[in-house]
């Protein structure tokens, strides 16, 4: 697997979608879920997930909370806000529009 950022431009969308299905995940779990559901195809530098999470948190799409895990360690878990749901719909339809357009080009040329 080449170590390159294959998530360019779609990280926000994937994070939001993941959190819609499974609320209250911490960063590692979000990353694992994306990686797992994409069949290990979509990967990023693991650390770059966090600035994205924090940016979305600032934008008000997701909210975070520190919890204490069974192991005794603290973890920061994220869940979607109402604004986040709206954003997800917008991102999703944008993604569909773009991929649809790209596909049309691939088919016709």
């Amino acid at each position: 697997m080449p170590k390159r950022d294959s998530l360019q431009g779609s990280l926000d969308l994937l994070v939001l979608k993941t959190l819609l299905r499974r609320p209250r995940l911490h960063g590692y779990a979000i990353m694992s879920a994306i990686s797992e559901h994409s069949g290990e195809v979509l990967r990023a530098e693991e650390g770059s997930l966090y600035p994205a999470l924090h940016r979305m948190e600032e934008a008000g799409w997701i909210r975070a909370e520190w919890i204490k895990k069974d192991t005794g360690r603290r973890a920061r878990v994220y869940e979607l806000t109402a604004a986040g749901r709206k954003q997800l719909l917008a991102e999703e339809s944008r993604w569909q529009a773009v991929t649809g357009a790209v596909n049309r080009v691939l088919r016709t040329v």
Binding site: H26, G27, Y28, A29, S48, Y50, E57, R73, R76
Partner: protein, 887 residues
């Protein structure tokens, strides 16, 4: 998350960093819990530092974060050099405090609008004329008939409001024994409605309180007076007091914010203008009130002015027709007078007229001192920034932007400005009232509202910001323009920085010279005015200004004077209509040998027997008044009188005429001659021809005339004449019922009160001159010390290869002496140019007098010598061996 959390995060960045780090850490641990290798997990995570920076930037406000960091850093920089920081803060605080103090007083006296509706539509009428002695005069009094004509002329566009001068008058709420003084002011009934004021209690005047002379005996109290005199007694409305012949009923209290239109005086009692003495109201020649003009919305001041001017010219022409035997020059002078219509949003008072110019001048001096202090700080900051050139270069090399470096240095300046502002605010808060009390006559203090309102705060803030940029900007620009390559090599061109410092030093010396020069002019003026001979001895003399109700015959006045003579400690007692130099005067035209009266007027003083003795004025020829002398019959005249009307010959035994009732002339014989003694209040004018006539007078039927007011002039033999005040006051009212001492002042204090403005200017200007000199000395020392430090290697080499001490001393001081010389020259230029502006405040001192220029030059030279001595010695004593080893 919100803006607030981002602000909060910017203010506690450490906590945010910990938070982020903990999250990263929990990620790695989670990875390890999933069975991954720690090293592999870390690698997969990527660059922690970069991720953290990115996260931080997302979660806080970046500029706020950098601002905070620079604020903390700036504070640490200041604390590293506590001594120089303290000195800088103290000098800047003094200058800023003085500025704020000046602003408070100027704002309170001149700028702040009256608390009335639409103050910007309020104007005042005044008149301007050049006096016969060439002194430009402005006055703003009108007669009531003139006011009525003007009001009629502009009634379509504006409303006129007549307001008399706020007078201290004796009145009583009970018996005559309980007389007290209050500032009363006669005002048009329309004043309160036009000002849009509503009463705090009862009612205010309306137009209907101002119709028939003598028929509206009502009074409105000011809130301040209601509070201090009556403790805000709710039952005040309906109470009455007696003032002169009239019984006034209190109908209401004015709102708390409004204290009259005479800025500097708080009016206690407002009375309807119709209640003024009917003779005064009717007289076209009695000028006793100010005319305010309230423009209607949309009316143009120019149009109103044109109408006022036409009306006034007509009034003038009518008055001139009544003048007989007026000389051509006098007539021309009379018609040369101009009417003015000036904005009066800030009210109108003599205090404003007298101090506008003086306060403006002081404000300029204070601003110069502030500039001097700022120059010092600019040099200090430049030197400090230069010492940190390598640090700056390093910051640039690792990617700091120019703006960020400027911010770094500016924050340090902002700290200095903030600390100085805080200290300066305390200084301004304490000093402004002191200055106001310095110009207040002791018996009638000036009342200015020195509120710490938003105006003062806004000024303080603007000042702090301006000051920060004034001394911080240049060092900041220099620091940010650092070139890493050369600075890190240790070779930033030191000469260009030195040049800037020397220019600043030159400017500083120029400003300092200017302040010293102006201070010298004011000091000289005060010296000359207060050392002017008065021609009488004020020492130990008390003046008891006394009123009676009703008027009392002269015999009773003499009886009281006789009683006072028997009090231990009293040497001599005489009576005068008013104390010498208290500002009152009576003038009349004189004719000699039946010739028509000329233009030159004579002053008249009404004095009893023994007046010359009480004030130690020698009788040169003839005799003193006797207790049997009655006015009009005899007079004692002064030198100026004898010179003016008798060609300098001995006038005793000769006759002159003055005007009497119903146009008749009265013949008076001169019985004595005295030297020139000052009776008017203005020290700047020459002593005028003066005739004393007896205090006791008879009318045409030879019936003695009772007197309602006068002053007992008491010469005491005690150290502090005021210690007798209580005894004398009681003796007066106990000897004869109806006599009441309204005011006791020493003659010395009355004399002093006529130079209060000059005294204030001299004291403050000298104080600021001292501060300026001190600051300039510190500045010179600092710059030379710094340049010696910068050049110590070069000096070391020179000494090592045989330079003599004299050469080194000359070498290190050449530049600074040059900027000193150029600065002093610029200062002379500024001084000569600026002296014109203060000319009207000066007396008998000339700006072009070499004396006046020499003193500041010597002062600066002496301070420069002191300041430069140490750094020069240090340069000369440089030890080449240790210097060359140094780097």
């Amino acid at each position: 998350m919100s803006l607030w959390s981002r602000i909060a995060n910017a203010l506690r960045p450490d906590r945010l960093s910990r938070d982020i780090d903990e999250e990263f850490q929990s990620h790695i641990e989670e990875a390890m819990a999933q069975g991954r290798e720690a090293a592999e997990a870390r690698r997969a995570f990527g660059n922690t530092l970069r991720q953290r920076e990115e996260s931080r930037d997302a979660r806080l406000i970046r500029w706020l974060d950098s601002l905070r960091a620079d604020t903390v850093f700036g504070w640490r920089q200041l604390m590293k050099k506590k001594v120089s920081t303290t000195a800088a803060v103290l000098s800047l605080a003094l200058a800023m405090g003085a500025c704020a103090s000046a602003f408070r007083i100027i704002d309170a006296l001149l700028l702040r609008p009256l608390p009335i509706s639409d103050p910007d539509r309020l104007y005042a009428i005044s008149f301007e004329n050049t006096g016969m002695d060439g002194i430009n005069g402005e006055y703003d009094s009108c007669s009531y008939p003139m006011f009525l004509r003007s009001r009629e002329a502009v009634k379509q566009q504006a409303d006129l409001i007549a307001v008399s001068y706020a007078d201290r008058t004796d009145l009583t709420y009970g018996s005559d024994r309980d007389m007290e003084r209050a500032h009363t002011q006669y005002v048009s009934g329309t004043m309160f409605p036009l000002f849009g004021l509503s009463p705090a209690a009862g009612r205010l005047f309306t137009q209907s309180d101002d119709i028939t002379p003598g028929a509206h005996p009502y009074a409105v109290l000011s809130y301040d007076y209601w509070w201090h005199r009556f403790g805000r007694d709710a039952a005040i409305v309906g109470k009455s007091f007696r003032l002169g012949e009239n019984l006034f009923q209190i109908v209401g209290v004015a709102p708390a914010s409004f204290s009259g239109t005479e800025t500097g005086t708080v009016t206690d009692i407002f009375l309807p203008i119709a209640m003024k003495n009917p003779r005064t109201i009717a007289s076209p020649d009695n000028f006793w009130l100010r005319s305010f003009v309230k423009l209607r919305p949309g009316a143009l001041p120019e149009a109103v002015y044109d109408r006022l001017r036409v009306t006034w010219r007509a009034v003038q022409a009518e008055r001139a027709a009544g003048f007989v035997n007026m000389s051509k020059a006098n007539r021309e002078h009379f018609f040369a007078e101009k009417i003015l219509l000036q904005p009066a949003a800030g009210g109108r008072s003599n205090l404003q007229r007298d101090y506008k110019h003086a306060l403006g001048t002081l404000a300029i001096l204070v601003a110069l001192v502030l500039l001097i202090a700022c120059t010092n700080l600019a040099n200090l900051m430049t030197a400090r920034a230069a010492a940190r050139a390598r640090e700056m270069a390093l910051r640039v090399s690792i990617g700091a932007g120019r703006w960020r470096l400027m911010q770094l240095v500016l924050m340090e300046s902002a700290w200095l400005a903030a600390l100085s502002s805080a200290l300066g605010a305390v200084f301004a808060w304490r000093s402004a009232p002191v200055i106001v009390s310095m110009i207040s006559p002791a018996d009638d203090p000036i009342r200015l509202t020195l509120a710490a309102d938003w105006r003062t705060l806004a000024f303080g803030l603007a000042l702090a910001i301006a000051v920060t940029f004034l001394f911080g900007l240049i060092p900041a620009l220099r620091a940010s323009a650092v070139r890493p390559a050369s600075a890190l090599k240790g070779g930033e061109e030191p000469h260009s920085r030195g040049r800037l410092m020397h220019i600043l030093i030159g400017a500083q010396v120029a400003f300092c010279f200017l302040v010293l020069f102006v201070a010298g002019l004011f000091e000289g003026t005060f010296e000359r005015l207060s050392n002017q001979p008065t021609g009488f001895s004020a020492e130990g003399v008390l003046d008891l200004e006394t009123t009676t109700s009703p008027a009392q015959p002269a015999a009773y006045w003499n009886e009281v004077a006789e009683r006072l003579r028997s009090i231990p400690g009293v040497e001599k007692v005489a009576i005068a209509a008013w104390p010498l130099m208290s500002g009152e005067a009576s003038v009349d035209k004189i004719s000699v040998d039946g010739a028509p009266a000329g233009d030159i007027m004579s002053d008249f003083l009404y004095v009893s027997a023994g007046f010359a003795g009480a004030l130690k004025i020698p009788i040169l020829e003839g005799r003193e008044f006797l207790s049997s002398d009655f006015n009009p019959s005899v007079a004692i005249v002064n030198h100026a009188f004898a010179k003016q009307f008798f060609g300098g010959a001995n006038p005793t035994g000769k006759w002159f005429e003055r005007s009497g009732p119903a146009g008749k002339r009265i013949r008076i014989q001169v019985v004595g001659l005295i030297p020139d003694a000052r009776s008017r209040d203005n020290f700047r004018r020459a002593i005028r021809p003066t005739a004393w006539v007896p205090f006791q007078s008879v009318d045409a039927q030879n019936v003695s005339q009772p007197k309602a007011r006068g002053a007992f002039v008491v010469r005491t033999a005690v150290g502090d004449p005021l210690s007798l005040a209580r005894v004398l006051r009681e003796a007066v009212s106990r000897t004869r019922p109806g006599f009441h001492v309204a005011n006791i002042r020493t003659q010395a204090e009355i004399n002093r009160s006529n130079t209060l403005r000059e005294r204030l200017l001299a004291i403050l200007a000298l104080f600021f001159a001292g501060v300026a000199l001190l600051l300039a000395g510190v500045g010179l020392y600092g710059v030379l010390d710094y340049s010696v430090l910068q050049r110590r290697r070069e000096i070391g080499i020179r000494i090592a290869i045989g330079a003599k001490s004299g050469d080194i001393a000359r070498d290190v001081t050449t530049k600074i002496l040059l900027s000193l010389g150029l600065g002093a020259l610029a200062g002379i230029g500024l001084g000569l140019a600026g002296a014109r502006y203060v000319q009207s405040l000066l007396y008998e001192v000339k700006a072009s007098d070499p004396h006046m220029l020499a003193a500041p030059a010597l002062g600066i030279a002496a301070v420069a010598l002191l300041a430069l001595l140490r750094p020069v010695i240090r340069a000369v004593k440089t030890d080449p061996a240790s210097m060359l080893r140094f780097d």
